[in-house]
Every structure is written in C-alpha cells, then in structure tokens.
C-alpha cells in the first residue's frame, strides 16, 4: 500500500460499522481531551504568576457545573457503549445460510477445512458476499484468529469450540494474524485471507483436487469408529437410528426435547450420558479423547448429510 497507512482496509459491512463507531468515539474523545488541554493551557497562560488577570473570584465555579459536565460526557460515552454492544451481539448470531468452515489453531499454524473437504494451512479462500460461519478450536494453547480488515477476532481456547461469522464484501487479499501470544513463532502464525468472485472461488475449489466431501469422509469414519455397529439396521445393541434425525426435535429420556443440531450431535459423541434419547438405555461409551477434532467435524457433517432434506445446508 503506497504512502502512509492511516486506516486499515475495510472489507465488510461489519468493518465499516466499526469504522463509524470508532470515528464517533474518536470525535467524542478528541473533544473531551481538547477541552481539557484548552482549559489547562488557557488557565496556565491567563493566570500565570506575573499576569494581572482578574482573580476576584466573581465567576464562582460551582459543583453543579462539575456534576452536569461529568454526567453529560458519561451519557454520551454510555450511548456509544450501547451501540458497541449492539454490534458485538450481531457478531455472535450468524445468518442461517452461512457456509461453515472449521478452523483449528495449532502451534504456529492455522488449519482451515471447507465443507467440501478442501484444506488450507495459514490461508483462507472465501467467496465475496457469502456469510461464512467459522467454528474455531485449538489443539494446544490459546491462539486468536484475527482479520484486521474484517475487524473480527476470537480467541481459540483449547477444549472448547468458539464460533464467529463474517461476510466479506470486497474482493482482495487481507492479513490474517494470531493475536494471542502462543510461543516462539507467534509472529509467523498468520497468512492471507483471499476474498474472490464466486466464479473464481468455484474454480479454486475444483483446483483443490477431488477430495471427497466432508460427509463422505465422515461416512467411512462412521464405520471405522464402530458407530454403524449400533446405529444402523441390524445393529447388535438397540440404538436410535440417525437417518432423518439432524435438525429435527429429539425427545430425551428426562422428558425434555432438544433440536438435534451439530452441538447436540457433537456433545452426544463426547458425552453421551448427558442427553440420552427417550426410550433408550444410556449404554453408549464416551468417545472424548479418542476422536480427534478433524474427524469429529466429518462425523457431524455425515450425520447432517443423512438428515431430512430441508435441514441440509
């Protein structure tokens, strides 16, 4: 970027909202600081030791002025805070049609995994204008997925999933950083986010080679981990059939009903005794610690692919 960079690239509608909010804060802050600097310098000059300014104390500074001035600045700033909070909440509920990309942070690289099974290291190719829902996890320490151009950042804490979404509106290449200190190559753990026209993105996807989709890989994992032994027809143990389950309500043994979204599927794999389907014995063993993060994503995608038609994304 030629010249002196004062302002980061603005690559999404959300980012421009942040620009406006930051601008507003900047103006209010500058006005307040300006008032303090001006008053200080004005008094310092007018009432300096030798000057014969009028010091008769006529303009009595009452505390009423002080309280009102403080209350006014507080109200303005709290107004900006409410605006900030509103945008913040917006960041945490993605639209329904968001494409889901799994991102795993590992010491000193980001591994991204598209629904079609394509994998990328320290890079992310996304189509312009398409809402992208990131599901972030870490395999070792705390990292932080940070794209300055989109003004988004989310710490990835090992042992938990964090979600964040964005919709890039401008084609281009933008920085990707790791923002939480994670060791020797913390500074090298980043790369580029490439926002492409949908056509180019399609071509790029094909160019990634015919890896089968996430769901296809999930299917053979379903067999390899022995899930099919119980959950498919003719299984040895009485276990709920998974066809047509994804996205629909599932009655639980404690009488409550839960929607079988990917969180329910994931939790049931990791902690099956927590929410047992109604009418079944809690016999399923836990797979926590045995199924890695990437395989779990594939299993979830597979269960989703055999769900009812309208639930499939």
């Amino acid at each position: 970027m030629p010249g002196l960079p004062f302002w980061p690239p603005t690559a999404s509608g959300y980012a421009s909202q942040i620009n406006v909010l930051f601008g507003a804060l900047l103006i209010v802050g500058a006005l307040t600081a300006g008032l303090v600097f001006f008053l200080m310098l004005f008094f310092a000059n007018k009432y300096r030791h030798g000057s014969n300014a009028d010091r008769s104390g006529t303009t009595k500074k009452t505390w009423r002025f002080e309280v009102s001035w403080t209350a006014a600045t507080l109200l303005i700033f709290v107004g900006l805070a409410v605006w900030g909070a509103d945008i913040y909440l917006h960041l945490y509920n993605p639209p329904a049609n968001a494409v889901q990309i799994f991102v795993v942070g590992k010491q000193w690289m980001w591994k991204a995994q598209h629904p079609g099974g394509q994998r990328e290291i320290n890079a992310l190719h996304v189509p312009v204008g398409q809402p992208i829902r990131l599901v972030l996890a870490s395999q070792d320490v705390i990292h932080s997925f940070f794209i300055p151009a989109l003004r988004i950042k989310q710490d990835v804490v090992p042992g938990r999933y964090e979600t964040m979404w964005f919709r890039a509106d401008k084609v281009g290449r933008y920085h990707l950083f790791c923002a939480e200190y994670c060791g020797t190559d913390h500074a090298h753990m980043g790369g580029w986010i490439t926002v492409m026209e949908p056509r180019d993105f399609g071509r790029w996807l094909q160019a990634q080679g015919g890896q089968e989709t996430l769901a296809a890989q999930g299917k053979d994992l379903f067999r390899r981990y022995g899930c099919s032994g119980c959950h498919e027809a003719g299984g040895t143990v009485r276990a709920p059939r998974l066809e047509g389950v994804f996205g629909s309500p599932v009655p639980l043994s404690d009488g409550s009903v839960v929607i079988a979204d990917e969180r329910y599927v994931r939790d049931s794999i990791l902690d099956p005794k927590a929410q047992v389907a109604a009418g079944y014995a809690p016999v399923m063993p836990t797979f926590a610690g045995q199924i890695g993060e990437d395989d779990l994503a594939k299993l979830v995608a597979y269960v989703e692919s055999i769900g009812p038609e309208q639930a499939r994304r």
Binding site: P5, G29, F43, R55, G84, S144, R151, G159, D185
Partner: protein
C-alpha cells in the same frame, strides 16, 4: 524552632548496619528508592532493546525467542518491581507519616520486613531473568505457561509471589497508620489528598494481592506437579486463570495510577497558589476508583471466550470506573482557574500527567466499547493505551513527586533549568513513542510480534525514534540529582511555600520528624490570594 545542630535522619546514625537494620520510615523509603531506580533502569534497557528490535520488519537483534524473553522481562520488571511499589514505598513511606504528623508508621519492623521481601522477590526474579528468562509475557496465560513454556518460569513466578507479600504488608502498614497515628486535630477531611490516595491504594494492595498469590501458587502447582487446574489437556479451564489473574491485575493498574493522582493533587495547588478545587469530590473519587476498580476486570477478556452476558456487564461497569477519574481531571484543571501559576519542574510534570492521563483514560473508553475492543484488543492500541496511563501517568506522577519532595528528602536543591528541560523532553519523547502505536493498533498490528508486515514499519521507526528521546528524558534526572546530592545548595524547610505538615519541619527532617507533635487547626491547601496560611507553629 529547629535546634542549632540537631542531626537529620541521614546523619543521626552512621554505618551499613544503621541502614540495613533501620526501622526509620525515611531510611526505608530511601532503601526502596535504590531498589526502584535499579529495577526501573533494567526494565528501561529491555524497553530500548524492544524498540531497537522493532525498527525492521524482520528479526533485527536476535531470534524470536530472544524477543519473547525481552518483552516478558520488560513487563514483569516494570509492573511488579517498579510501577506497583514506586510511589507508595518511596514517597508514601517517607512523606505520609510526616503529612499526618506521626513519628513513624504503625509497624516499623514490618516496614523493614517488607523491604527485605521486596528485594528478595526482586533478586529471585532477576536471577530467573538473567539465567535465561521466561517467555510467557507478564500475563502467564494458560496452558502455554504451564506445559509449553520453556525458561525459568518457576523461579520467576516464585519471585513475584514473594514480592507480593511486600505489597500486602506495606498496604496494611499504611491503612493502620492513617487510622491510628494522625496528629491531634488531623480529622479525615484535613488529610492531604496524597494521604487519601495512598490509603485508597493500600486498600487495593491489601484486598487484591492475596488473589494474585493464590493464582501464582496454583500456576506453580500445575507446572510442578503436572496436575490440571487450568489447562484443558488435564481437564481444567484456562479462562478461570484469566479471571483470577485479572481480578488482581486490573486493580493493580489502579495501584499504579492512584498514588500519582495523589501527587498531582499535592503539586497543582502549591504551584497554582490556590486551594484544590472540590477537595471532597477528589477524595471520594480516590476511594470510588479503589472500590469500582474491582468490578471491571472482565474487559480484558471480551474475546477470550467469556459468556456474552458477563462481557456486557463488564463493559458497562468499565464506563462507571471512568467517572471518578474524569472528575479528578476536571478538578485539577479547575484548580488552575484564577491561580498564580508558576512553572517549576514539578508543575511541568503535573501538566504532562494531566494531559497524557486524559488521553490514556479516554482511549480506555474506546476499549470498553465491545465491538471496537474485538478489533483492537491484543493489538498496539492496547499497548499505547496502557503506556499512556503507566508511563504518561504513573511515571510522570512519580517524577513530579520526586522533584517536589526532593528538597525535603535530601535537604538539597536541584538545578531548576535542567529539571524543566527534562520534563519537556520526556513529554515530547513520550508522545512520539506512543502516539504512533495508537495508529498501529487500529491498523491491526498485534502485540508481542517480533516480525510484522512491512507496511507498519514507518510507524515503528517513528516510535523507536521517540523511545530514544524518552530514554534521554529519563536519564537526565540521574545526572542533576547526583549533582544536587554532592554539590547542590542547602534546601530551606519550605522551598515551595507549601502548606503541608511535612514542610513545617526541617529538611532533611530529624529522626522523629517533628520536635514536638504538631496540632492541626486547618484543612490543607489554604492559600488566600496566593499566600499560604500555615498550620499552627509552622516555619
């Protein structure tokens, strides 16, 4: 009033034992002063090396690991061995008992023990840093600091753990002293504001530091015994560590800034020859900062995976804690109205403090807005914010107090011209160093990066240039203060014509501070038409 040849606290007893085993709060203050200066310059060297490293986008001075150990050393030394002890243990120890008309602190031996704990902790951590340092940053985030960090983490953390008890005991000493040892007539509303803010700081020292002690203990237990309290690999929750760490560390930043606010509330009325505007407002704002400071730590964790509702609550509480600071700034500026303002060195540092602290405080409000914080947290915007408060605020306040009470502490005057030049030099060097970092922050330059994209280099070079000027601004006082001790002219009891009790005794003061305990008849800062109305029996 002062006997012809009565010895001062410096000449009353002689010899190394008289210093190392002293229980005189004034001598202990000077012992702390030696420790503080030593650690300030070690931290300063680390800071200069960091700025040199960041001149070029790629590695300049050494490997990334070297840089990680460098900023960790800068953070740990500056936070725990300079900023937190700086004003309370030096000026607080020396001036507070004199301001309330006491002969010494409530527990003098405990005061000496605190110094030994501080030095022991300091040397243990310094040993860890010299042997190879640790590369976790001063925040020791989990699970990196327990299972992935190389380096002398156990030794370094144990040093901080030991120095924490020095903070607790100093705070405890001050609280009991202010409650129990005030001179007759010294009611709470006649206390100078420096006593109030040191009292508020002591409340935080006593109530926050134990939580740090327990957090560091659990960190050590996890790393040594390999048990999973915080790290998810063994079932723990790393965000719990962040909660407990910041429960201490945010009040700790108020430990660092409150004493400086007290110093400024002392300096501004004296050099404006006018009573402090809104004394009760300023006093209760110090206590309010200490109290509300405990409710806001979550704003360090907006993107750390904290629950949404908790983030919302902490965001609004963070705006509340800004109100008392705003009131104090307003009162300092209002004190200047219709004053007789003199621009001695302490006053220049005070002006620098008010300006830079205002900018630091306001950028804090940027960070408290949730959506903006998502973008700028963990970037150089945060680095600039807390350096504006710590270096622009706390260190400027430390130098203001140093220049203000230097004649009282050493009985010598210093060259005013050089002191004013150092103040201005530090002000401009500071701004050139840290204002570009605000711009870097919003551009998205992350913290703790040794190599960065080339387009940020312009701002880093500007910042490094500013750092060299700032270093000069901080080194200059070393010279003229040394000259002042060796050949500076004798200081009178009240060189600035101030109204505090500490100015009503000789400088340097006798061992028991006052020939006979003064009685207080008037509130502080009583200047009528610019002339101070002194307490009974003042010099």
């Amino acid at each position: 009033m002062n006997a012809p040849h009565q010895p001062s606290y410096l000449s009353a007893t002689v010899g190394i034992r008289s210093w190392l085993l002293t229980t005189d709060h004034k001598r202990i203050a000077l012992l702390y002063f030696a420790g503080i200066t030593f650690f300030f310059f070690i931290g300063g060297i680390a800071a200069t090396l960091i700025r040199l490293e960041l001149i070029t986008p790629g590695p300049t001075l050494g490997s990334p690991d070297f840089y990680n150990r460098l900023f960790t050393m800068h953070g740990i030394i500056m936070v725990w061995f300079f900023l937190i002890p700086s004003i309370p243990t030096t000026m607080g120890n020396f001036i507070l008992p004199m301001m309330i008309g006491a002969r010494d602190l409530a527990f003098p031996r405990l005061n000496l023990a605190s110094w030994y704990l501080y030095m022991a902790g300091g040397l243990i951590t310094l040993a860890a840093l010299v042997l190879g340092g640790l590369d976790t940053g001063w925040t020791f985030y989990e699970p990196y600091s327990t299972f992935y960090a190389t380096g002398y983490l156990i030794l370094g953390v144990f040093g901080i753990f030991v120095s924490g008890f020095s903070s607790i005991l100093t705070g405890l000493n001050f609280i009991v002293t202010v409650h129990k040892l005030r001179a007759p007539g010294m009611t709470w509303y006649r206390l100078p504001v420096f006593v109030w803010s040191t009292y508020a700081t002591s409340l935080i020292l006593v109530l926050a530091t134990p939580v740090l002690a327990m957090t560091l203990l659990m960190l050590l237990a996890e790393r040594v015994l390999h048990v999973g309290i915080f790290s998810p690999q063994l079932g723990g929750d790393p965000i719990l560590f962040q909660h407990m760490f910041w429960f201490y560390s945010h009040p700790a930043v108020y430990i660092m800034i409150l004493p400086s606010m007290g110093v400024i509330s002392e300096v501004v009325p004296v050099f404006a020859r006018k009573p402090l505007f809104g004394y009760t407002f300023v006093v209760w704002c110090s206590i309010a900062i200490a109290a509300i400071g405990f409710l806001v730590w979550g704003h360090h964790m907006f993107v750390a995976g904290q629950a949404l509702y908790a983030s919302l609550a902490f965001s609004f509480l963070s705006y509340l804690v800004a109100v008392p600071s705003a009131i104090k700034v307003f009162n300092w500026v209002a004190t200047l109205h219709e004053g007789w303002i003199r621009f001695d060195a302490p006053m220049l540092y005070a002006f620098g403090f008010i300006g830079l602290f205002t900018i630091g405080g306001l950028t804090g409000l940027f960070l408290a807005a949730l959506a903006v914080d998502v973008h700028v947290t963990d970037t150089y915007f945060v680095v600039a914010h807390f350096h504006y408060i710590m270096v622009g605020g706390a260190v400027m306040g430390f130098f203001a107090g140093l220049h203000y009470w230097w004649p009282k502490m050493t009985g010598r005057l210093y060259p005013d011209y050089w002191a004013r030049f150092a103040a201005i030099l530090a002000f401009f060097g500071f701004n050139l160093t840290f204002f570009p970092q605000f711009i870097l922050g919003y551009l998205g330059m992350p913290r703790r990066y040794q190599s960065y994209p080339p387009e940020f280099q312009v701002w880093h070079v500007l910042s490094s240039a500013g750092a060299s000027i700032l270093a000069a601004g901080y080194a200059l006082p070393l010279f003229y203060f040394a000259w002042s001790i060796l050949r500076g002219p004798r200081a009178p009891a009240n060189p600035w014509g101030a109204t505090g009790l500490e100015w009503s005794t000789r400088s340097p003061p006798p061992p028991e501070n006052f020939v006979e305990t003064p009685t207080v008849v008037r509130a502080p800062y009583q200047y009528v038409q610019g002339e101070p109305r002194m307490q009974a029996g003042d010099v």
